[in-house]
């Protein structure tokens, strides 16, 4: 027996079913879990190696009769920073995968040619987009949820790493911010799959947005090269005085730098930087704006040509 579902619920369900049938969901889940494994291992390994070197240095200094022993450089660093590589992976790889999810969501139906059958039913176009956004969010939330569980389990079982309850919550906060960031790029993928004419353009344009948001804008507004920007510890440190050009660019374009907002919020959640709280509302606003744009774009498509590829 099948229960009565609202059209929005039916579309959400169909979206999740399509994702699992295409194996996109399984593939993304696998990639995220692999990224988590490598990230945690690299972070933990770095930490334990640094601690071991410190202990060896202290012992050596003791044998040399040193009276002053410098503090452990990691003593003031948040233990959550073993997850900092995850921030880089999500910033780069995660965003691209999210674009694929958002892009496939609408392109799949445009290519199949089922949109005229859907829109000849009592489903408004904004309702349809809302359902698509919900489906995308749920899929990404499931992936991020699984990633959090694996990260938390790693934190429990890895030797020489003890997280407090508050730190587990901060880790959850980090993944919630990551979900928000991934949703932005998935929504961008969806938006361009609605507005662009050809399939290649629908994928090319969101990737252009990703390049701009993650590489070009931070470079223009902070004066940091992309490789430096990938290092969250570098970002957490105070930026040097970069001159008038960057001040002007920061004032003019800084508000567009979604990658920077995510990095700030993520580092803040991991306890490596302050000030990320202000970036969080920006991510919410961007998500809302892109979702609204996708709904408006589909609504503006008065013709049936846009419904097929």
């Amino acid at each position: 027996m099948s229960a009565r579902l609202s059209p929005v619920s039916a579309i959400v369900r169909n979206e999740l079913r399509a994702l699992t049938r295409e194996r996109t969901f399984t593939m993304l889940l696998g990639i995220f879990l692999a990224m988590t494994f490598f990230s945690v291992y690299i972070g933990w390994s770095t930490r334990t190696t640094t601690n071991a070197i410190y202990r060896a240095s202290v012992a050596y200094l003791g044998t040399q009769g040193a009276t002053h022993v410098p503090p452990n450089p990691l003593s003031g660093v948040s233990p959550l920073l073993i997850f900092d590589n995850m921030l880089i992976y999500i910033l780069l790889v995660g965003a691209l995968l999210a674009i694929v999810i958002g892009h496939r969501s609408f392109i799949r139906e445009r290519k199949a040619g089922v949109l005229p059958l859907i829109f000849a039913r009592p489903v408004s176009r904004p309702q349809y987009i809302l359902a698509k956004l919900c489906g995308i969010c749920l899929a990404l939330a499931a992936i991020i949820g699984a990633t959090y569980i694996v990260s938390a389990l790693a934190a429990v079982f890895l030797p020489a790493l003890r997280l407090t309850a508050a730190e587990f919550f901060r880790l959850l906060d980090f993944y919630a911010v990551s979900l928000l960031y991934l949703c932005f790029f998935a929504f961008v993928g969806l938006l361009f799959s609605v507005v662009a004419g050809s399939e290649s353009t629908t994928l090319f344009l969101p990737i252009l947005v990703w390049v701009a948001a993650v590489f070009i804008l931070p470079e223009l507004t902070l004066g940091s090269n992309p490789v430096a920007l990938l290092n969250p510890v570098t970002l957490a440190s105070a930026a040097p005085d970069q001159g008038q050009f960057f001040t002007v660019m920061r004032a003019g374009l800084g508000w567009l730098s979604v990658g920077q907002f995510y990095t700030q919020s993520g580092l803040n959640a991991l306890g490596a930087a302050d000030g990320g709280a202000a970036a969080l509302p920006a991510l919410f606003i961007y998500n809302g704006a892109v979702a609204w744009a996708a709904a408006a774009a589909l609504r503006r498509h008065a013709g049936t040509g846009a419904l097929t590829l």
Partner: protein, 252 residues
């Protein structure tokens, strides 16, 4: 869902088009169309390829917004009350496509839910029974022939018991057996369920066997709109609907 019995209101207009005009790309494709289709009719909308038949059906099914004029279906304006229109119509596009990786049941269940059907399983079973098409529910659509897809297309269009069914070139690509089966289904839908049929076609033989009234579209202009009976009476010397159609076209 409106459960007004279709047969009771027989004869009242179910499709009303007034000064319907549509233009795109700087070209006017529909020129001030005016016509009415009474409830209970099987209306054949004739015309060459590119005459504007699909554009008209797209406007009537709310997929397209006209540039000017009004279109009302089942008493509701297609622009002001599109969801009310959509609740009361069924639509079968010319090249009907589905989610090929899903089974027939999954496809039909999805479209039934989008239409707000309460008991999905029961309606699917009834509809497939009506179409004499039970037993294929759990096969994936990608294994279906053109004729089978057309039947599933028809099933999705009538699952929610619409008052009017829009068919865009329904016989396109079908073999003679498929055409006959489809014709029988259309006639049964009209007679047994009282569903009004609005059918785009250029197959005159089908119009003669199926329709009760016709409209002829030529380059976006409605050049003829009468009952089939009166059409045959208007052209008493002609041997077939085909020659009548050719005469209409030549007269323009």
């Amino acid at each position: 869902m409106d459960t007004t019995p279709n047969l009771i209101l027989s004869g009242q207009p179910i499709v009303e088009v007034a000064d319907l005009t549509h233009a795109y790309g700087g070209q006017t494709v529909l020129h001030s169309l005016n016509f009415i289709v009474p409830r209970g009719e099987i209306f054949g909308f004739l015309g060459h390829n590119g005459a504007g038949k699909t554009t008209t059906i797209s406007i009537l099914t709310t997929l397209l917004r006209q540039s000017a004029g009004t279109a009302r279906v089942a008493g509701f304006d297609t622009i002001k009350e599109p969801n009310e229109v959509r609740k009361r119509i069924g639509y079968l596009p010319e090249n009907v496509t589905f989610y090929d990786d899903l089974t027939a049941y999954e496809n039909l269940a999805y479209f039934a839910r989008l239409s707000g059907v309460a008991d999905v399983d029961e309606r699917i079973d009834e509809t497939l029974g009506f179409l004499d098409f039970r037993g294929v529910e759990h096969r994936k659509l990608k294994t279906f022939s053109k004729g089978m897809r057309q039947r599933i297309g028809l099933a999705q269009a009538i699952l929610h018991q619409p008052q009017v069914l829009f068919l865009d070139e329904p016989t396109s690509g079908l073999d003679p057996v498929g055409i006959k089966n489809l014709r029988d289904v259309i006639l049964r839908l009209n007679r047994e369920q009282g569903i009004t049929i609005f059918m785009n076609t250029h197959l005159l033989s089908e119009v003669a066997k199926t329709c009760t009234s016709i409209g002829v579209l030529n380059r976006g202009r409605l050049i003829y709109n009468e009952s089939l009976e009166k059409t045959l009476a208007d052209f008493p010397d002609e041997m077939s609907l085909e020659t009548i159609y050719v005469r209409m076209e030549e007269a323009v």
